[in-house]
Each structure stands twice: as C-alpha cells, then as structure tokens.
C-alpha cells in the first residue's frame, strides 16, 4: 500500500494522514463492522456457505473494479467496462453455441475487451480526449453492439470451460471456494504486486498524481496510460468469464449498472477519483462491502430501495473521508 504521496515518518500522525497512507484501512474497517452487525442481527448471515456466496456475488463487479482501479489511479475513468464485458460474454456464448472450442471462444471474448482497451487508450493518448467522453461513447456503442449481437435474446451457456469458474469448487477450511474466487484472488495479488513492487506500478501512481512531473522525470506517460487501459481490458475480459461462471446465460440486459457498481467499489475502497492514490486491496474491500450490505439487508428483509439508499450514503461518506484526508495533508 505504498503510495508516492506517502508522508515521511513522524512521531504522531493525524487520522487523515494515516488514512492517506493506508487507504484500504477505512474500507476494511467498514467491512468488518458490517459483517459483525449482520452476524449479530440475523441468525443466517454468519454461515460459511453464505460468506462464500457473498464473495461469489461480488466476483464480477470485483473483477470489473480491479481494472477500474488502475484506470482511476491514472485519473481516468471507464464507463464502458461492464458493456465491454457483456459484449464479451455474448461473443463467448455465441461462439460456443455455434460449436467453437470453449477455449477459442473464451480467447475471442478476452481479445475483444483488450481491443476496446487499446481503442480507449489510443484515443486518450493520441488525441487527448477526456476518458469520461471516450468511454461514454464507447459505452453507448458497446451497449448497442451487445443488443445487436444477441437480438435482445439471452444466449444459454453449456460449455464446460466457460462455466468452469463458477461450477468447480473445493473446500478450504470448510468454506466452499470456487475457481472463480481463486482466480480473482490471484488477479488481485498480481496487480497489487505490479502496482507496489515494480517500476510500472510507480509510473502508474506518478502519472495519476502529476502527469507533467512524471513526464519531466522521464516516465513515458502515454505508454503507461495505454498499458493501463490494456491491462484493464484484460481484467474486463476475465470478468466476462466470471459472469458466465455465475449465470448460465449471456444476457444483454444484465449488468446495466455494472460500470457504476465498479466505480462504487473503487471509491468505497479509498481510491481517489483524482488519481494517484489508492490500492487494489481497498477495492477488494469496497466490492465486498457492497455485496455484504445487499446480502445482510436482504436477510433482514429490508426493502431494495433502502439498500440503495444505504449504499449511496456509504459512497458519499467514502468521498468525504478522501477529501478530509487530502485537506489535512495540504494544511
């Protein structure tokens, strides 16, 4: 959780400074509090099967949010990630239904999301358009493409490999673990390692913090930005695989708000929308917090509208914490 904005050691640091140095601590606390509250409030929440289910429910958005974290770290935003993923699920399912080998179908979907990443990254670096606009346009186009491919109909998935992440599971200490959960964990660890231990990771934070200074210090800013969109595209392709493991149909009408859900997870995870500060571990917590809230509140029989209300309030609280932390750092 090293960030380039980390302040040098002092004898006493304020809460804001602490949160700034370790942005995943806040969401981790929120997660623990939520789990404890729901475990006390219901007889059903604290149950190994249920905890496993909650993690499985957060897999797709969690994987989307992983790529979204990288994009937001460079002060960008990707509104098209879920739409890109949905197109990939349809391509995978359609190819498999037409008799294509499952691995080839999977690859085709992942290649598509990477191409979308190159398209967005290319426009962001070559023409310097704001990411918001590029990805808004891409979102609109991809949504249309998914409906054109599917003709509005869902495509049933029967291919074993495409469902593998959801159907194969093993027990770990009594908790059912799917291969999808394992893969997501490995991806989070991989990107965490890349962000904190490699030069590429330092460049990502530097570009997000101050692109001009990064450029002056010899970082190839455009190349870093493009690489972020490509890696993010790869994660969205894998999110498509996760989605097919979860639901047995590729449906053009699902994950309509997946883009916003992924941004919610990133922001709840303490990553700053202004770039340069945050961590994928925080995002993991953020994605889990949302799923825990949904699950726990549903089991408490709380109406869906109140669940949305709670999630929104938590989101604003997270941004307020980010702002206060930044202000304390400046003063």
């Amino acid at each position: 959780m090293t960030t380039v904005t980390a302040t040098h050691a002092r004898e006493r640091e304020s809460l804001g400074e602490f949160l700034l140095r370790a942005p995943a601590v806040g969401p981790a606390l929120a997660l623990v509090v939520a789990i404890v509250v729901f475990s006390l409030a219901t007889d059903t929440f604290f149950d190994l099967d249920n905890l496993s289910t909650v993690v499985q429910q957060s897999l797709v958005v969690g994987t989307l949010a992983l790529g979204q974290t990288l994009v937001i770290l460079i002060a960008g935003i990707d509104l098209s990630n879920a739409a890109s993923m949905v197109v990939a699920t349809l391509i995978m399912a359609k190819l498999a239904a037409a008799g294509t080998n499952g691995f080839v179908a999977l690859l085709a979907g992942v290649v598509l999301t990477i191409i979308v990443g190159i398209f967005i990254g290319g426009l962001a670096t070559r023409i310097k358009l704001p990411a918001f606009i590029i990805t808004l346009g891409t979102f609109t186009m991809l949504t249309a493409v998914s409906k054109l491919i599917a003709g509005g109909q869902a495509v049933p998935v029967t291919d074993g490999l495409l469902q593998w992440l959801g159907t194969k599971r093993y027990l770990f200490g009594g908790i059912p673990i799917t291969y999808g959960m394992t893969l997501a964990l490995l991806m989070y660890l991989g990107i965490w390692y890349a962000l904190t231990k490699t030069a590429w990771g330092k460049h990502v934070y530097a570009v997000g913090n101050a692109p001009e200074s990064a450029r002056l210090s010899g970082i190839k800013v455009n190349r870093t930005v493009l690489s972020v969109y490509i890696v993010a595209g790869l994660t969205f392709g894998i999110a498509a695989w996760q989605a097919l493991g979860r639901t047995p149909n590729a449906d053009p009408n699902q994950f309509q708000l997946g883009n916003l859900d992924s941004i919610t997870a990133v922001v709840l995870g303490g990553t700053s929308l202004f770039g340069g500060r945050g961590s994928v571990l925080g995002t993991l917590m953020g994605a889990l917090v949302v799923a825990v809230l949904r699950s726990g509140l549903t089991q408490m029989n709380v109406d869906g509208n109140y669940q949305d209300l709670a999630t929104g309030a938590l989101l604003i609280a997270a941004v307020v914490v980010d702002r206060i932390a930044r202000r304390q750092q400046q003063s």
């Binding site: 929440f45 869902a154 009408n253 549903t298």
Partner: protein, 338 residues
C-alpha cells in the same frame, strides 16, 4: 495537427451516427387527420432492442405493408425513457402520422404529448401498456397484465395441490404499472395479499438476470423452506432458477413466469419453469394497424381496452387450468408463427 483534427472530426461523426434513437422513415408530408384515405402509422416502442418490442415492431410493419399503410417506427432508448418517447411522438407528428401506436414507458410520463397529438386529430392507441387514466388514449390493445398474473398465480396454487404456499417473489422495477399489475394479479390468483405470512420474502431486480440471481441467493439464505416462486418476467426467472439450482431446491419448487418469448417457452420445456404465461404482441400490433387503416378510410376511432389475451404454457397441465404445451408455445411464441 491537421490529421489530428480530422481524426477528431471522424470520431465525432461516428459517435453521432451510432448514438441516439433508431429511426425508420418512409414518407414525408404533414397530413394528419383521419378520413383522408391513406393510413400513416407511427409506432413508438419502449426500446428498439428488446426482442418483445422487435416482435411487435416487425408485426406492425408487416401488417402495414399488407394493408398499404405507411409505417415508421421510433423508440425510447431504455425502458422508462419518457423524454425519448415524447420526442418520438413529436417527430412522428412532424412526419405527418395520422395514427400513433405507443407502448408507453410509464403510464403517466407521456400524457401531455399524447394529448397534443390527439388534439391535432391524430388517433393514438396504446399497445402493451395502458395509460393512467386509460382514456388518455383513444384505445388500448394490450395484455391484461393483472389477468396474466392471476393465471400464473392460479397455476402455482393448483400445482401446490392444497399445500399452503411458502412464496418468494422476484419483482421487476418497483412501482411500474406492469410490475404492479402482474404482482397484484399473481397474489389474487394464488389467494394471498401483500403482507400475508405465506410470502417469505421478495426482491426487486429491474429485469436484470444477475440481480435476480443475487436477490434470490440472499433470500434463500434466510430460509430454504419454500415451495413457490413468482417471477415477474422470464430473464429474472432464469436468474432465480440459477440460484435455486445451486441450492438443489428446484425439485421442491413451483416457479411461474410471464412473457411467452421463445426462450421462456424453451425454459418451460426444459423444466426450469413449471409454467409461463404467454402474451401476444403480434396481435396488439396487427389490430393497431388495422384500426389505423380503418380510421384513415372512415374517420372511425376504436375505443376502450381490448385484451389481446394471454395463455398458460406448461407441460404439466392441471385440472381447472386452461393451458397449452411447450410444443404449441414454441410454434406460437409471442403470437408469431415460427
């Protein structure tokens, strides 16, 4: 630099061409009153990609061609896009439509535009969804969604064969007209009311399969002691089924759905749904176009609510419930001959 601005320009053009509503135009001019001879039919659907509305649109276009009427179709961009529908109505009037067939996104959101059109002499017929009040349009050709829900509820009740229901409900968009009617109809059919202790939980999933699956998983965590599931439409039914299957509960549960798309009928055939209730969008479209032709010829307007009917599709027919099997359903999904 020049190359850059050229690229930007191209990009802008591509964006402009690929966003916004889809438009089909086949005429110009601005005659818009009845009795003038040629029918000019404009259709406004909720979206232009949902297969249900695609079926409706195709049927309307075919009926218009068969009857020598001009036809133009516009749509909102998403379910609930009132503004998009208002613009579509304005565009159709501009193009000179003398009949507008509309599936209103919300029962109240487009009423002013409809009133303006009617005041100008345009025949307005609601398809699929009634307006509130119902007489805001000249006539409504639609599924009686309350009756469709009631048929589903009656089937589930009959399938339970006297066992008291323990019900989970998967609703659509909270507060939407169709959602409310189907929900209420189902409860009447199964013999319950909102708040009955037999209802073990409900979740609203906005028509999103993955949200329905998630909601059902969370509900099942509370209790798996259930024997009946209501799903407001078929995609959400499939999501709910995935959650039930993961828990190994599909054997003990009677699940009903509504819509009657070919895929939903296939789900009945595969045993995912015990029954689904089929609607007939093709009938709505054809009858709407025929009314438009009649209006153009004679100036005579239809009125009131015309129920285009709904039918239970199941491979487990039950005494006292009129139904068709899935083979018939696949032949007739959404009223189209396949």
């Amino acid at each position: 630099m020049r190359q850059r601005s050229l690229t930007a320009l191209t990009l802008a053009a591509v964006l402009a061409a690929t966003t916004g509503c889809t438009v089909e135009r086949h005429w110009g001019g601005n005659t818009n009153t009845g009795g003038s001879g040629k029918a000019k039919v404009g259709l406004v659907t909720k979206t232009d990609t949902n297969p249900y509305f695609v079926e409706l649109r195709n049927a309307a276009r075919a009926a218009a061609q068969a009857n020598g009427a001009d036809f133009s179709a516009l749509a909102g961009q998403f379910d609930g896009d009132n503004d998009g529908q208002v613009r579509a109505i304005e565009n159709l009037r501009q193009q000179g439509a003398n009949t507008i067939l509309i599936t209103p996104s919300s029962s109240t959101g487009v009423l002013k535009a409809i009133k303006d059109a009617r005041d100008a002499g345009v025949l307005v017929i609601a398809l699929d969804t009634a307006t509130e009040p119902a007489d805001a349009v000249d006539a409504t050709f639609a599924t009686d969604n309350f009756a469709a829900g009631e048929q589903q509820g009656a089937y589930v009740k009959a399938a339970l064969n006297g066992t008291p229901p323990k019900l989970l409900m998967v609703d659509g968009t909270a507060g939407s007209t169709v959602d409310t009617q189907r929900h209420g109809g189902f409860l009447k059919g199964i013999g319950l009311t909102d708040g009955s202790p037999e209802i073990k939980g409900h979740t609203a999933a906005n028509g999103d399969q993955s949200l329905a699956q998630q909601g059902m998983e969370n509900l099942l965590q509370r209790s798996t002691d259930i024997n009946a599931v209501y799903s407001m439409n078929e995609p959400m039914g499939r999501g709910a089924y995935a959650a039930l299957k993961a828990r190994g509960l599909t054997g003990q549960i009677v699940m009903g759905s509504i819509d009657g798309g070919c895929e939903g009928v296939q789900n009945v055939k595969d045993g995912q749904f015990a029954a689904t209730v089929m609607q007939f969008p093709k009938k709505m479209a054809e009858q709407g176009v025929l009314a438009a032709v009649e209006y153009a010829k004679t100036g005579k307007k239809p009125s009131g609510f015309v129920n285009t009917g709904s039918a239970v599709i199941t491979d487990k027919p039950l005494p006292g419930i009129e139904s068709h099997d899935s083979a018939w359903g696949l032949q007739n999904c959404w009223g189209g001959q396949k």
